[in-house]
Every structure is written in structure tokens, then in C-alpha cells.
């Protein structure tokens, strides 16, 4: 009955094999990338579906298998995989989006000369992400955690000739590494504090759940906060969010796959897997909730003022991830995962649709677009679905999952509920703005600059054409998912939560939350329409009324600048300081030692003047001294 569950380890290995094959083939086989990559993703997806089906069975039990990775007298580090309902769900999300992105890229990256490399990287990423999802302990999770990071780095820097891409790739890696370092310390702490040095999630659950006291509360809090810091880095939460918007320098399918649907959600997944630790520490939970809530609002406000289509979506991703963390911090990890699930579909959809737009108009600046609805009907329609889902309009997926979170917030913490509402308002507002500016109105021509792909050049928005089948098909599929995915859990039917947590499904109808969410979303859309749709002078009015505000938002609250000032320059200054120390103090000491030897040599040389007289005089003096010494010794004793 559980054949597929037991062989779930094959799922990540298929894309790995694809990666190895593509790397070995080299860049000359252009078609190979598309075919091998897509079929690997398809095979993984099929396997994942089979696993999921098995999980629906009545007698499904969690299955895990691990082997010893390193054995050192008494300590064992293991690597293994585990299949639970949660991992099965994540498998579906990852393989599904990966498959669609593979199909989509066949059109989007068609003219890129390194398309084989691109597919290789995507396959590698899929492998790492699936490995992360399947991991059964903290260590193997950390290994794959780093691997997805490096794949993200490779893909962000895919167009490596662009200085911006290079900088973005570097930034993405280093900023997330800060979080990773914290996560590593957290794992070290866990290793030494857990009984039997076990790192498995099952052990973590049984240790932290219920029977308190095995690990002191203080340590628990520290561990939880360190793990959370790791998640903050990966999921782009404040204050480590700065890399995610820059990561949009990568090809758009990548943004959809990695920076919207899967990798950035890994932080949420991590917290869901280690949820018992957070449950055991009230303080850590509060931190998670408040950081999540703050980020949700913070990023949403920034998104209001951005002009780069993909950056708006990036900030929107940060904001939505904030919701998920808020949910987990408030004690509902299933709510967080539910939002992760729906968000993966509609955000991937939005990115892919945006990619379709960019592919057509060759700019990312929304101020230069407009009127695309007539020329790109499928893209427009699917983007609209995604935008409405994101804004939280029922019955689309985003509404249900956001509502689940808002309902919890209303129960637990009114302040965060208000923050969530405010963020939802901003969300609806900026999505309306984007939609109006890009698809409605009249086409603007003569757009220059901001070209994403250097290989393709054509006219501006005026000459836009609908994208090829390979690109629109994934859009349609995702749009359907974005419409339907929300029904797995509604306020009247808590099926998903029950299935995930293994507890009785509970309905949590909360009229206030529902009405509040809908009202806010509607208000946001209305405001957006009034601002950007009917009368386009209004934004300028706001800008005049509060120029500092507009500037603050445009410059993203100057967080980047602050980091640049404090860390980059700080490190550089420290480097210069230590460099001087190395050259002058250490090098100086070495020189001093060297020259001391030299000087003493010169002094000794002076004795050797070549005159026999001096030598013999020295000999005589020496003899006299010797004689005096011997005689003196005799006399004394």
C-alpha cells in the first residue's frame, strides 16, 4: 500500500539525474535541456501525485528512513527522508510549479544561448528543494537549505554579464547566509541539548511537545529564535529582506519558481516542521508573529511606490510571507502552510504572467506599459485572476487562506489583526495600480532601456504580441489552480488543517474576519481604481502633498543604504585597518627582526678590519682574560 511513499527518495533524484546529464552534455544540445528537464520534472510530479494519493488512504502512517552519514564514536549524524502529509503537500507544490516553469521556460528562454545550462540549474534546484522538503532531520534540511540557496544564487546571476545581476546574486547569497549562519548555530545548540543528540523532526516533536523541562525554556527560546533567523534570511523577512527584490535580476521563470513559490517559502516550511519548539517558547512565537506582521505591512507599503513590475511582485511576496509567519507565530502553522500552498499558485501565476508581459514589451517599468489587454488577452485574464487572488477577493484561493490567518489573528491579537487588514488594503491597492498601469489605458511607445534579455529586441508596448503556447499554457493551468486551490479549506470546512495536523478538522467561521477582509480588499481596489484608473493625476497630487513619504517608499525606507553604510563600509574599513596592521605592525616586526640581524652582522664586520695587529691584540686580550679567569677561580676557591 505504501510502495510510493517508501520510494519517495526517488523524487528528488530524478531532477538530479537530469542536472548531471545536462551538465555532461554541455551547451551544444539546445533541445536536450527542454526535453530532459521537463520530463524529469514531469516524472517527479507524477511520483508526487502517487505519494499524495497514498497519503489520502485511511491507514497512512508517516514513513521515514535514514542512514548514517558520519559516525564518530558515539555520535551519529544522519541523513534521511520522511514522508508526512505536510511533505506530501509540499512535494506537490514544488513539482507542480517546477513542471509548469519548465514548460514555460521553453518559450521564455528560447533564444538564450545557455538554455541547456539554465535547465540544468533548474533541475538542480528542483532536486535541492525536494530534498529540503523530504528531509527528516535538521542536518539534512540544512544541507539542502544551503543547496537551494546556491541554486538561487546561480540563477539570479544567470545573465552574468550584467553588473546588476552579478551584484544581486552576490547579495542574495551573502544576506541569506547570515540567516543560515544563525540556523547553523541553532542546529549546533539542538545537537548538544537534545537527548541522544538526535536532530530528527519526530524527536524534536516528542521532546518539545507536552513534556516540558527536558530543555530549559531559555535555551528553547534561543534555539527557536535562531531557527527563525534562518527562516527570516531565506524568506526575505525584515530585516533580511533586501536581497529578494534585487533577486529579480534573474530570469522571470526563476522568480516564479524560486523567489515566489518554493524556496522563499522554505522558511515557513521550516517553522512548520519545528513548530513544537515555537510552541514551547511563548516569547519566540510572539517575535515570529510581530516580525511577520510588521513585514507584511512594511513590504506592502514599499510595493505601492515601485515602478518595476517584478519588484512590485517581489515586495508583494515578502508581504505575503509575512502573513504566513504571522500565522505561525499566532499558533496556527496549518494556516501558514495553507497560505503557502495557495500563494505558490497565484504568485507563480503573477510572475509568469509578468514574464509574458516582459517578453512582449521588453521593459519592466510599468510606467512605460499600458493597454496590453487588447493584444495579450490570455495574459491579461490570467494576471487578473492572480491579482484578484492576491488581493483576497472571494472565491479565489488567496481569499480563503488569508481569511484563515485573519480569523486566527482576530482571536488572538487584535493589533496584528489590524496590521493584517492594513497590509491587505495596501495589497489590493498596489495590485490594482499594477494591473491598471500595465493592461488598461493606452499603449505607450518608444520604451527604451530596462531590457531584460539582451538577446531579444523588438518594439515597445505598442508592438506587443501574445506569447507562444508554451508560455500561455502554464498560465492557464496556474490560473485554474489559483481559483480552485482555496477550497481545500474554507471557514466552514477545515479539511486541510485537519489532514495536515492529524487532528479533528475544525470549522472556524468568523464573520468579522470575512467581512473585514472583503471590505478592505474592495476598498483597496476601489481606491486603486480612483487613483490610477479614472484620473491619473491623483498620484502626482499625493506626491506633492507628501514628497518625503513618496521618496521614503520609493527608496524602500533606506534600508539598503543603511546596510551599505554600516556593514559594507564597516567591513571595508575594518579590512583597511587590519591591512595596515598586517603590513606595518606584523610586517614591521618581521622587518625589525631582519634588520636587527643585519645590524649586528655589520657591527661584527667592523672587527674584521684585515689588520693582523688588531687580530693578534684581540687574541692576546682573550688569552689574558682567560688566564685571569682561571687564576681568579683558583684564588677564590
Amino acid at each position: 500500500m505504501d510502495f510510493y511513499t517508501k520510494s519517495a527518495w526517488v523524487i528528488p533524484l530524478i531532477p538530479l539525474a537530469a542536472f548531471l546529464a545536462l551538465t555532461a552534455l554541455g551547451r551544444n544540445y539546445r533541445k536536450a535541456g527542454v526535453i530532459i528537464g521537463t520530463f524529469a520534472a514531469l516524472a517527479s510530479f507524477a511520483m508526487s501525485v502517487l505519494v499524495l494519493v497514498e497519503r489520502f488512504g485511511q491507514d497512512a502512517v508517516d514513513y521515514n528512513y535514514s542512514f548514517d552519514w558520519i559516525r564518530i564514536s558515539g555520535y551519529t549524524l544522519e541523513i534521511g527522508f520522511e514522508v508526512t502529509n505536510l511533505t506530501a503537500l509540499m512535494l506537490i507544490v514544488v513539482t507542480f510549479v517546477a513542471l509548469l516553469v519548465n514548460v514555460y521556460s521553453a518559450g521564455y528562454m528560447k533564444n538564450d544561448e545557455r538554455i541547456t545550462v539554465f535547465y540544468g540549474y533548474i533541475s538542480l534546484f528542483t532536486f535541492s528543494m525536494l530534498g529540503l522538503v523530504l528531509s527528516d532531520n535538521m542536518l539534512s534540511l540544512y544541507i539542502f537549505w544551503e543547496l537551494v540557496g546556491v541554486c538561487s544564487f546561480l540563477l539570479v546571476g544567470f545573465w552574468y554579464t550584467k553588473p546588476a545581476a552579478k551584484a544581486a546574486a552576490k547579495k542574495a547569497f551573502i544576506v541569506t547566509r547570515i540567516g543560515d549562519a544563525a540556523l547553523l548555530i541553532g542546529i549546533l545548540l539542538l545537537f548538544w541539548y537534545m537527548p541522544d543528540h538526535a536532530l530528527g523532526f519526530t524527536m524534536i516533536e516528542s521532546v518539545f511537545e507536552g513534556q516540558g523541562g527536558i530543555i530549559a525554556t531559555g535555551i528553547t527560546t534561543v534555539i527557536a529564535l535562531l531557527i527563525f533567523l534562518g527562516a527570516v534570511g531565506k524568506s526575505g523577512q525584515f530585516p533580511l529582506h533586501v536581497w529578494l527584490p534585487d533577486a529579480m535580476e534573474g530570469p522571470t521563470p526563476i522568480s516564479a519558481l524560486i523567489h515566489a513559490a518554493t524556496m522563499v517559502a522554505a522558511g515557513v516550511y521550516l517553522l512548520a516542521r519545528t513548530f513544537p519548539i515555537f510552541e514551547a517558547s511563548l516569547f519566540a512565537s510572539d517575535v515570529v508573529a510581530y516580525v511577520g506582521g510588521f513585514t507584511a505591512l512594511f513590504a506592502a507599503t514599499i510595493a505601492l511606490a515601485q515602478n518595476d513590475l517584478k519588484r512590485v511582485l517581489a515586495y508583494s511576496t515578502i508581504s505575503q510571507l509575512g502573513y504566513m509567519f504571522m500565522a505561525i507565530g499566532l499558533g496556527s502553522w496549518t494556516g501558514g502552510i495553507f497560505h503557502l500552498f495557495t500563494h505558490a499558485f497565484f504568485k507563480a501565476l503573477l510572475f509568469l504572467a509578468a514574464g509574458s508581459v516582459i517578453h512582449a514589451v521588453h521593459t519592466q517599468n510599468i510606467q512605460e506599459m499600458g493597454g496590453l489587454h487588447a493584444r495579450m488577452r490570455i495574459t491579461t485574464a490570467t494576471f487578473a485572476v492572480g491579482a484578484l487572488a492576491l488581493a483576497g477577493i472571494p472565491p479565489l484561493a488567496g481569499f480563503w487562506s488569508k481569511d484563515a490567518i485573519m480569523a486566527v489573528a482576530l482571536e488572538q491579537n487584535l493589533f496584528l489583526f489590524a496590521v493584517g487588514l492594513a497590509a491587505a488594503l495596501c495589497t489590493a491597492l498596489y495590485m490594482t495600480r499594477v494591473f491598471v498601469l500595465v493592461f488598461l489605458g493606452k499603449p505607450k511607445t518608444g520604451s527604451e532601456g530596462g531590457l531584460e534579455s539582451p538577446t531579444v529586441r523588438a518594439g515597445g508596448a505598442g508592438g506587443a504580441k501574445e506569447s507562444p503556447r508554451t508560455m500561455t499554457l502554464p498560465l492557464v493551468v496556474l490560473a485554474l489552480a489559483a481559483i480552485a486551490a482555496g477550497f481545500v479549506e474554507t471557514p466552514w470546512n477545515g479539511w486541510l488543517g485537519g489532514w495536515l495536523s492529524g487532528e479533528e478538522a475544525v470549522a472556524h467561521v468568523s464573520p468579522a474576519a470575512i467581512i473585514g477582509s472583503i471590505a478592505v480588499a474592495a476598498a483597496g481596489i476601489y481606491l486603486g481604481w480612483r487613483f490610477y484608473g479614472s484620473d491619473r493625476t491623483r498620484p502626482a497630487v499625493v506626491k506633492e502633498a507628501a514628497p518625503w513619504l513618496a521618496r521614503l517608499l520609493e527608496r524602500k525606507y533606506y534600508v539598503d543604504e543603511a546596510y551599505e553604510f554600516v556593514f559594507v563600509r564597516g567591513l571595508r574599513a575594518l579590512g583597511t585597518l587590519l591591512g595596515a596592521f598586517d603590513t606595518y605592525i606584523i610586517g614591521g616586526l618581521v622587518k625589525l627582526a631582519g634588520s636587527a640581524a643585519g645590524i649586528s652582522g655589520k657591527m661584527a664586520l667592523r672587527l674584521q678590519n684585515g689588520s693582523i695587529g688588531t687580530y693578534s691584540l684581540a687574541a692576546v686580550i682573550g688569552m689574558v682574560v682567560l688566564a685571569a679567569a682561571i687564576i681568579g677561580r683558583r684564588l677564590l676557591s
Binding site: 678590519n609 684585515g610 689588520s611 695587529g613 693578534s616 691584540l617 692576546v620
Partner: protein, 100 residues
């Protein structure tokens, strides 16, 4: 008797030492060296006659010294003559070519 011989030898030795160190003419230096050698010979003979264990060894030794000194003087004077031909001087102050 011994002290007087030893005193004489010491005086001779000091004169020789002074000459070897202070004089600049190489010939004088050589002469002073001979003086020092003979002071030593005197000591050897004195000890062989009046020492704690008198024996012939000391006198035989002094004969050796005299022979070696003769050979040494011959070689040294030859070197000095060669040097004088080459340099035109026998001043020891100028004999510092091996410096550096």
C-alpha cells in the same frame, strides 16, 4: 733557580709581544716572534732541569721548536720579499687585502 729563568723568559716574551703588536715593519715583527719563541724555549729548558719531574722531554721539545722556527723564518722572509717586490712595502698596516 727556577724563578729567575722564568722571569727572564717572561721579560723576553713581553718584549716580543710588544714588538709583534706595536711594530709596523714586518721584519721587526718577525724578529719579535723569534724572541717570543725563544722565551718559550727557555721556559721548556728551565722546567726540564728544575721542574717537579725533570726529564729530557723539554729539551728535545725546544730543539723541535728551534727547527720549526727556522723553517718558519725562512718561509716568512721569502713571503716578505715577494710582497716587497709586489707592493714595495713591508708595512703590516698595508697588508689587509684579505679584508672583505
Amino acid at each position: 733557580m727556577l724563578p729567575s729563568y722564568l722571569t727572564l723568559a717572561a721579560i723576553l716574551f713581553c718584549i716580543g709581544l710588544y714588538g709583534a703588536l706595536a711594530k709596523r715593519n714586518a721584519i721587526i715583527v718577525l724578529l719579535s716572534l723569534e724572541l717570543m719563541l725563544n722565551a718559550v724555549n727557555l721556559n721548556l729548558i728551565a722546567f726540564s732541569k728544575y721542574g717537579v719531574v725533570p726529564s729530557l722531554t723539554g729539551q728535545i721539545f725546544s730543539v723541535f721548536t728551534i727547527t720549526v722556527a727556522a723553517a718558519e723564518a725562512a718561509v716568512a722572509v721569502a713571503v716578505l720579499i715577494a710582497l716587497f717586490r709586489a707592493r714595495g712595502t713591508v708595512d703590516v698596516e698595508h697588508m689587509n687585502a684579505m679584508r672583505r
